[in-house]
């Protein structure tokens, strides 16, 4: 028997799990609209909340940002405090971290995706990389403390900080490099291999240049995560009050997130506002980095088309 009026049939009695709803079509539709609205509301409210938090930070800290803020060192007196040491520390950390993590990460990514024979060992390394990506940053900090600071004797230097951050960003760079390479059309690879190129020549001359925008995007995102990290630096003994600019990788250092942490943990309102000002600087740096990443992505898309 064909029942065309299945809405009322459903509300009366039906064994179908999809249709045993109570109420008539009107209330079911109302429920549906309400649910759609709730989903929309969740999205808008989270974005709105973050926007509010950031806006409030700008209002709190905006007034503290002036030339002195960038040229003074941190001090007991809020009025005379600045982020010179932290800013330079972050730049140093970023530089050394990039020096170690980009070559190792990108090469490992290329090797794992293109050159390495698929087998037990390949799977082992892949699983290991994704496991490392999930290890909390404090654990990297503890490892850095035992290995770089104590065992290798780098002490509380920029080098131990940067090496720890490098190990931390490696899995992220490797994973994004592999994704970028996997997105390269296989016709490019097949073409090169068909012309008699070796796997390495294909990877170097054809796959790597094509995947470069994607790789760069991943590298920028990984490094911008690294410069926002605080926990490993605290464990490694970055000092919070420092009145000099580091001049080499053996020097002690502080960094922007470290400075924010020190100021937030003070009870005085003025220091909180200084922290807000430092957050504005840090978010500014991250925004620039992310914009570059997005710019690269858009440009590479245009080139392909």
């Amino acid at each position: 028997m064909i029942n065309l009026d299945f809405y009322s049939a459903a509300s009366a009695k039906s064994n179908h799990p999809l249709l045993d709803q109570r109420g008539n079509l009107g209330t079911r539709k109302l429920k549906s609209y309400f649910f759609a609205f709730m989903c929309f509301f969740a999205t808008v409210s989270v974005i709105g909340l973050i926007a509010y938090l950031i806006l409030d930070t700008f209002l709190q800290g905006g007034a503290w940002i002036n030339a002195d803020f960038f040229t003074n060192f941190a001090s007991r007196m809020p009025d005379k405090s600045g982020i010179k040491a932290a800013l330079f520390g972050t730049i140093w950390l970023l530089g050394i971290t990039a020096l170690f993590s980009i070559p190792v990460g990108v090469i490992s990514g290329i090797y794992l995706e293109e050159l390495m024979k698929r087998g037990f060992f390949h799977k082992f390394i892949s699983v290991n990389v994704s496991n490392l990506a999930g290890v909390p940053s404090v654990v990297y900090g503890i490892f850095g403390l035992a290995f770089f600071v104590r065992m290798l004797g780098f002490e509380r230097s920029l080098l131990s900080g940067a090496l720890t951050l490098s190990l931390m960003s490696l899995p992220v760079i490797i994973i994004s490099t592999r994704e970028a390479i996997a997105a390269v059309p296989s016709s490019i690879k097949m073409g090169a291999l068909a012309m008699g190129a070796t796997k390495w020549q294909t990877a170097r001359d054809h796959i790597f240049p094509t995947a470069l925008p994607g790789i760069l995007t991943g590298v920028i995102l990984a490094l911008s995560r690294a410069i926002g990290e605080t926990a490993p630096l605290i464990i490694l003994g970055a000092v919070s009050f420092i009145a000099f600019v580091p001049e080499g990788w053996n020097d002690g250092y502080t960094a922007l997130p470290m400075q924010i942490y020190t100021w937030v943990s003070k009870p005085q309102e003025d220091f909180h506002q200084l922290a807000a000002a430092t957050i504005i600087v840090l978010l500014g740096v991250l925004l620039v980095a992310n914009s570059i990443a997005i710019f690269i992505r858009i440009r590479s898309r245009k080139v392909k088309l």
Binding site: L18, K29, T43, N128, N131, Y140, W200, I260, V264, A275
Partner: protein, 309 residues
């Protein structure tokens, strides 16, 4: 060049041999570079194991796992991990209670309701939230969220678990939203169409077709978010305080495992002292717990992929 004074076959042979040799060289060089990740894992496990071993020569394993007092900095020192393990779980559960419904709601909106253009703008925006450093969220927690809670619940203390859980909840929303959205989008359109053909409303299709079909993806995202919440450090140590407390009251200060590591690191720890060694025992515990959750999530994801491929 060599081409002109040598037969072509000899030249190609040479070039071919050179390329093969280069390939071999590169292969071993790159293998060595790639093994850095393996060495990292071995290094982490080895350092955690060795220093923890020293720690467990002072404190018995049973005392560590079942003790209900965590007082490593005062005499007599007590090393029962339960209070800080409980604190970590409280924050992680609290954060998930907030992040899961909101994150799944966002994912449903993005994949089922939003116009493709709106989705293309909002998804990167949500993912950008994941890029905000955790110390910045710590600042939000201390200066905005805690005072906000205190206004509505006057018994809220300056350091409290609620503020930390709320903040971590906001931090892990992008994880839940982004991964769940991927799961929803991998549900075949034909399944939705079948639901609509039976006369279901969009809500009924979402609730009884899309969500059940994507449930393993949602679960994976929740597990990963939970693992992230367990490892979260800065926001928690700034907002929750540093009082290891076996409590159910979210308005009291507590301490998490990560919070303890930061607290001890901020002070001057003597190398080789029991406080120093306790860092490694706690970090080892953290490592094992997050490892279990991450592998669980990966298992669930592989299962999901098998279901639709």
């Amino acid at each position: 060049m060599t081409q002109s004074d040598q037969p072509l076959s000899e030249w190609t042979n040479k070039a071919y041999r050179r390329a093969r040799w280069e390939q071999m060289f590169v292969h071993y060089l790159f293998l060595a570079i790639s093994s850095v990740t393996i060495l990292t894992t071995i290094g982490i496990i080895a350092t955690l194991a060795i220093e923890s071993q020293h720690f467990f020569s002072h404190v018995t394993f049973g005392e560590f796992l079942t003790g209900t007092k965590w007082e490593p900095l005062f005499e007599p020192k007590k090393f029962g991990v339960l209070p800080i393990l409980w604190g970590t779980m409280m924050i992680a559960f609290g954060a998930c209670v907030i992040a899961v419904p909101i994150g799944v709601g966002i994912a449903l909106y993005l994949s089922e309701y939003a116009h493709p253009k709106v989705r293309a703008t909002l998804k990167p925006l949500i993912e950008l939230l994941a890029g905000i450093p955790s110390v910045v969220f710590g600042y939000f927690a201390v200066t905005i969220i805690t005072p906000f809670l205190q206004r509505f619940l006057p018994s809220t203390e300056v350091f409290n678990a609620a503020s930390a859980a709320l903040t971590v909840g906001i931090m892990i929303i992008p994880v839940v939203a982004s991964l769940s959205e991927d799961a929803f989008r991998s549900v075949p359109q034909s399944m939705r169409d079948a639901g609509y053909a039976l006369g279901a409303t969009p809500f009924e299709v979402n609730l009884r077709v899309v969500i059940p079909a994507a449930v393993s993806g949602i679960m994976a995202s929740v597990i990963l978010a939970f693992a992230r919440a367990i490892g979260e450090t800065m926001a928690v140590s700034l907002a929750a305080g540093s009082s290891p407390n076996l409590t159910l009251n979210f308005l009291e200060p507590i301490q998490t495992m990560t919070g303890f590591i930061v607290q001890v690191s901020m002070g001057d720890v003597q190398h080789g002292s029991i406080e120093y060694q306790s860092l490694f025992a706690v970090a080892g515990m953290l490592f094992i717990v997050t490892m279990i959750f991450n592998n669980l999530a990966r298992k669930v994801v592989t299962k999901m992929k098998q279901a639709y491929e």
